[in-house]
Symmetry: D2
Subunit: 141 residues, 4 copies
Amino acid sequence: MTEQASAVTADELNAFFEQGFAGVGARPLVTLAERGRLVLSLRADAGHLRPGGYISGPTQMAMADHAAYAALFTVTGIVPMALTSNLNINFLRPCIGEAVLAEAEVLKAGRVSAVMEVSLRAEGAEKPSAHAVVTYVMPKG
Amino acid sequence: MTEQASAVTADELNAFFEQGFAGVGARPLVTLAERGRLVLSLRADAGHLRPGGYISGPTQMAMADHAAYAALFTVTGIVPMALTSNLNINFLRPCIGEAVLAEAEVLKAGRVSAVMEVSLRAEGAEKPSAHAVVTYVMPKG
Amino acid sequence: MTEQASAVTADELNAFFEQGFAGVGARPLVTLAERGRLVLSLRADAGHLRPGGYISGPTQMAMADHAAYAALFTVTGIVPMALTSNLNINFLRPCIGEAVLAEAEVLKAGRVSAVMEVSLRAEGAEKPSAHAVVTYVMPKG
Amino acid sequence: MTEQASAVTADELNAFFEQGFAGVGARPLVTLAERGRLVLSLRADAGHLRPGGYISGPTQMAMADHAAYAALFTVTGIVPMALTSNLNINFLRPCIGEAVLAEAEVLKAGRVSAVMEVSLRAEGAEKPSAHAVVTYVMPKG
């Protein structure tokens, strides 16, 4: 799925996300954007961690949702009003590390909806900590 | 499922959550704890909102996960090492309001795992904004 | 949600399903159809059972899908080309009995998609054997 | 994950499934069994099809469940009493063909539970018709 270029570059995606959301702490950054595939990276801070250095479930769910959204744009271009309709996540192993990576792949990008698969992994870990499948619905028209 | 008393009171749950997590901003509060059923409430702040006053998907997912965890304790007592293994959420309608409520019901509390159903709704809204089903695994022994 | 009449009666639904599908063995029957709520019942035969008299996972998944489809019609009228886009099912307890019931409730029936919640239970059992949430997409136009 | 041999061969798996289940019509057959990865194939008959030659949703769900079960055994050996606890499936495209293939990959095989990812595709189709993630719980002891 990589022969055609991504509809947006990693820099364009990072610029879009920077102006749109004014959250606290570290922002996730797109480190790779190919057509249909994207990697998002987040440096974990205190708000993302549970005692013992575990990157929390909610942090991983938010990463999965964000990575799916950004991955969709590598196929469709930036569509801000695309909205999550379904997210299913399985937590497989503890996620322990200073950063967490989300690798998202577009399974389908249709006129009405799109489905992305996301594998989450602590930076440096060999196996994924979680696996999610996320459905987005496209805005009308 | 309400004839037997809850294994913990709302006050006990709120005290447990206060000492355990040092997050930023408003904490969710347990406003009702019956055996097998619990209501969690969060006053939304800037970090929880998207432009237009929408309470974000990740905020609702974190609420669903937290409410399921707390609801489980109304049956088992407080089991800190119970861990989320699966979360499935469907977003049904925009969630617009100053606070969001999560009503969780225990579908099953077994020796190995437990399954909770959570309905999320903006305070004052008639219909739910999202619906989740969350599976927790119990610690060994 | 029951004050307005169902868009179709149980008899109309059973007639529709009888002419549409030519499967083998017993067909599920709609035993209750209210607006937004429906009960589907299936008498289990050999093809539905595993050794020990357990009603199989695939039988329960098919029942959940069918009950969700029929429940949707109590709100929209019969829309044959509605298609399942997502199904999530949690198996809670063994399903042992001569018949299995699926009680479906419509969480949302929109122009583009609909979400139904389904509780499955062996006939005579006090607690559900499985719980599913099913999303259907509506045909265009 | 293919360097170590599969704990069971395709022939052993097919022999196990033949003696265990007395269903009607064609049985799915394991066509590839590597450690952590398996392909299951089903020749569709009338009971699996909807008008227009579409392989039905329930057929694909049953294939996903069966493929996940068999794939798990390539890592653990045959464990008949492993039971499905959760199945999540997204239907991506129509499934039209004379046979349907399910390719399953083991994401995690733990002492308590295992998670498999399954991609379903009509024979000859370039893109998947459905994608599922299935959790099995291991029997005690």
